[in-house]
Symmetry: none
Subunit: 325 residues, 2 copies
């Protein structure tokens, strides 16, 4: 690791890349202009400073359009964005347009706009305004604050990110008796982890599948039709092939006979009966998900979903999208 002398040849982009190794949350800081217009910008330069008195800081570029507004207003709100507010972050990171359009603001202790749905909010009054090179550092006294248990949005190396709790050390030794043949795989084998997590999760859902007399094949075909209408048999086969269960004409015929699906000109569609069965099965899956969410916490659940989506897109055999993006 060689040190790069910052002067005289500091490359701003390279320096920024080094700084971006420090992960941060993402905030929107809001205030009002002299004529009452709401103003807000995305910033990740926030940090806590002091507990007594309660102080926080953030910094704003001297050439920022909103600098004089913040300097004049003396009051501002810092919103720590939740993992669901990526779009809001992008909106407030740009200039122009009415950023506050269609946002129902909450009532705060000052006139500064208070955005809903954040992980935490700090309503502040400027206590100090410090020189910071090409930025001004605002140190504010916290007049009021609140928080919600929604996982925050992160920013790291120029990308949005989610956080996951760091796990304890990983076990790699099999619990077999001494002298036994060595294990062929360890607890870290991803295929094992995916399978066991999936099947154990589904064991709370399977009884409901059995109530409606559904096999795995039946279930995969009906799942697809729960999301899409009028699907041709080839398309059903193609979309369920990755399950390895082999949904074919015979399985569709059986579903037709049981009046769980109906055949139209453009393909198969769930009947009311099929829709009702699937609604009950999905309700069981949602109940299991809720139960798991209570044990794991919202942050871990969001990260798990996120990583499963990565896994799905990286192993996708080239299926058309089931949902609009």
């Amino acid at each position: 690791m060689t040190s790069t002398a910052a002067k005289p040849s500091l490359d701003p982009k390279d320096f920024r890349n080094a700084l971006s190794m420090f992960a941060t949350g993402v905030t929107i800081v809001t205030t009002r202009s002299g004529d009452g217009e709401p103003v807000g910008i995305t910033a990740n330069s926030f940090n806590s400073v002091s507990l007594d008195p309660p102080l926080v800081l953030w910094s704003l570029a001297k050439n920022a359009y909103s600098l004089p507004v913040f300097q004049h207003a003396k009051e501002w709100n810092v919103h720590i964005l939740s993992n669901e507010q990526e779009a809001l972050s992008n909106k407030f990171a740009k200039k122009g347009e009415d950023k506050f359009a269609q946002i129902a603001l909450d009532q705060g202790v000052t006139a500064s706009p208070l955005l809903p749905g954040c992980s935490a909010r700090f309503q502040c009054r400027t206590m100090f305004e410090y020189e910071g090179g090409d930025h001004i550092i605002f140190v504010g006294e916290v007049l009021a604050y609140d928080r919600q248990p929604t996982p925050p949005l992160l920013y790291l190396s120029g990308n949005y990110a989610l956080a996951t709790k760091k796990a304890a050390a990983i076990a790699t030794e099999a619990a077999s008796d001494a002298g036994a043949a060595p294990s062929l795989f360890s607890e870290d084998l991803l295929g094992y982890l995916l399978g066991r997590a999936h099947y154990q999760f589904m064991s709370a859902v399977r009884p409901m599948m059995h109530t409606y007399g559904l096999s795995e094949k039946d279930f995969f075909a009906l799942s697809l039709l729960s999301v899409r209408d009028q699907v041709a048999p080839e398309e059903i086969a193609q979309h369920t092939a990755y399950t390895g269960t082999g949904v074919d004409e015979a399985s569709l015929h059986s579903l037709l006979e049981r009046q769980l699906i109906a055949k139209g000109q453009q393909g198969y569609t769930l009947t009311e009966q099929g829709r009702s069965a699937m609604a009950h099965i999905i309700a069981a899956a949602k109940a299991q998900e809720e139960d798991l969410g209570e044990k794991m916490g919202a942050l871990e659940m969001a990260a798990l979903r996120n990583l499963l989506k990565h896994t799905i897109s990286q192993t996708d055999p080239g299926l058309s999208k089931l949902w609009k993006s």
Copy 2:
């Protein structure tokens, strides 16, 4: 979401909890005392301030033992810790002991101690020292810096964390035609994500299962015997019940006939032939895992394993452990 007035009744612990919703990296800041002794502390109050001139800031409690040292020294190094430096973070967060013992320091542009193995480092000289309530804010000019592509350690809500790249915005609307019945579930349904990730992953492994003529049932029984020797039929049934495939006497009998397993006094064990078949199947699973790892990156894979383990332990029907912990 109700606002909590910060004054007069601010609860320091509650306020700190709200502040901790802002994720940060973890740094160690080092300097040398007047008599040349190395000094260092863990801090997460770091942030970038200015590109031109290059400035960063961090804050230190006024009652910190090391405050006078930093105020006198005027030079200090900020180290952004990697995800492998959790122990170092803990060490420098405490008082006493010789924190620098057994650390081979790198050579920097100042006399301040430069720790190896970090995600990024900034060698600084104090430019401003600002009042910040119960803390002093140090703003330093960056004299030199460097970085490594090792994932950084995070701190969020009082816990160490890892970051995972956020997936693209979540689609919740079905891609059906307008006028079609609404989807019964969205792309966020965890059961769907687990299933699709699992089955798509396994689609690279299934051909190898078919090469050896193995059904799902066969595969689950042989998987268990790949990790444990001499397993009684009831125990095999119990340990594979969560898969819903119903491994029974008949399936074990079929495996016996194909000489993939052998029956001993204390239960079933893989034959050499069974072991070889499973070794090939597991090799296919490992190849798929490696392929996925190259696409997703080590950090994401570690986080995914981590979260699947959480999921497994939270949905465990009470099975005995397969591996020692």
